[in-house]
Subunit: 214 residues, 2 copies
DNA sequence: GTCGGAAGAGGTATTTATTCCTGTTCGACC
DNA sequence: GGTCGAACAGGAATAAATACCTCTTCCGAC
């Protein structure tokens, strides 16, 4: 299975793994920086754009990455003291609106047919754990008892939902609003609460929230 | 490493493994039979031609081949997007407030010590798939582009968030408010929208939402 | 708040892969 | 040997990806 979505995901992940944006990765590989623009992955008429094998080859060479790693294929014969890959499993993925049309489920109700892509759940990465919410200060997003999956020390961008643990022991779930070398501005998940600035030096660790239970 | 030569070799081998010629393989995949002609792999000026990722995808689908096998990467991949059990590691679970106290992470920042439980994820045999949200009618819970993990035909209780597909093709994410033998009352995730009653006979399938991406 | 570079959307031009087509070769079958 | 369909080479047309370009927005440094 080599799906459109899987390839683009792999490109985005490769960029992230190298602390690059998609345009930065393209640039690094000698390609035009707009080559992997999100806006160009699906044409206006809905047709999917498939990055060329030549472009893929170039980004792999530029980042020193094996194709197997790029595609998230485990190679048990490599056996080179690699730690177990993080917890993940591929889950078939389809657009919500698409699910209304026929042809996506077999007679037993399982995903079938063309159109299904794959999403990794709960995520790939070495330090992924779950935290259980208490209290209702994060309603309506997170109710008491909800579980959130957190990738600690993952790359975090503006707008990301994160868990932050400060040096004095406070743990909070917030949205990154702004990030500089010294300060992080954290907006509350509950708009009733004010934006809060935290010194980076005060932060013991930060993890990006990947999933929330429902 | 993904080289021109490696890809073409893989195509030829895939054809041979399926008792096909390169032109037969192309034909089988719905491509023009001349697509993989040897004569077209290197242009007259010496420039190498790289088959497109879309063409590769098509031949993999047509022959039921995994990309790892195609590229000669040993892969213990099994079934529909399932990695081998060995690579699936449980995700440790802790209370959010507890995470503020010491003793739950080791020096490298990984979960350690007592108090960690384990999150339960859907079992292998369950019919679990992901749907990608479009539009913003489900804000603030689900933004456009968010992915929700759905267990189709799972047991559903009052208060559960569900995806419902009706017989006339509508797909919607709602909260079960009341459920009788004949009727299901579905509250919207966006409180601005009214509660809706749907006859059970009108529902093609219902799936409980397990997780939402963040 | 200002500034400058990166990121990204969107449009056009150029390049490149596939498709369409024609003709030749090859191999199986009669 | 003749016939037929598949395989293959090669050229032109078409479709699709990248390159180039412009503009706007974002983001981090100061």
């Amino acid at each position: 299975m080599l799906s459109h979505g899987r390839i683009w995901e792999a490109i985005d992940r490769l960029a992230a793994d190298n602390n690059l944006s998609a345009s930065g990765l393209a640039r690094k590989a000698g390609l035009d920086p707009t080559t992997f623009n999100r806006s160009k992955r699906v044409a206006a008429d809905g047709r999917e754009r498939w990055p060329s094998t030549e472009s893929l080859s170039k980004i792999l060479v530029a980042t020193g990455t094996e194709i197997g790693d790029f595609l998230g294929i485990l190679d048990v014969h490599r056996g080179f003291g690699e730690p177990a890959a993080a917890s993940f499993r591929g889950v078939p993925l389809l657009g919500l609106a698409q699910a209304g049309a026929g042809g996506f489920f077999d007679d037993a109700g399982f995903p079938a047919g063309r159109g299904w892509e794959e999403v990794e759940f709960p995520g790939r990465g070495e330090n992924v754990f779950a935290l259980q919410v208490s209290g209702d200060s994060m309603m309506p997003l997170y109710r008491a008892g909800d579980t959130i999956i957190v990738a600690r020390d993952a790359r975090v961008n503006r707008g990301d939902r994160v868990v932050v643990k400060t040096r004095d022991g406070e743990v909070m779930a917030k949205v990154v609003q702004r990030k500089t070398l010294k300060l992080v501005e954290l907006a509350s998940l509950n708009p009733a609460h004010p934006v809060r600035s935290v010194a980076v030096a005060e932060i013991e660790w930060m993890g990006r929230i990947l999933w929330a239970s429902q």
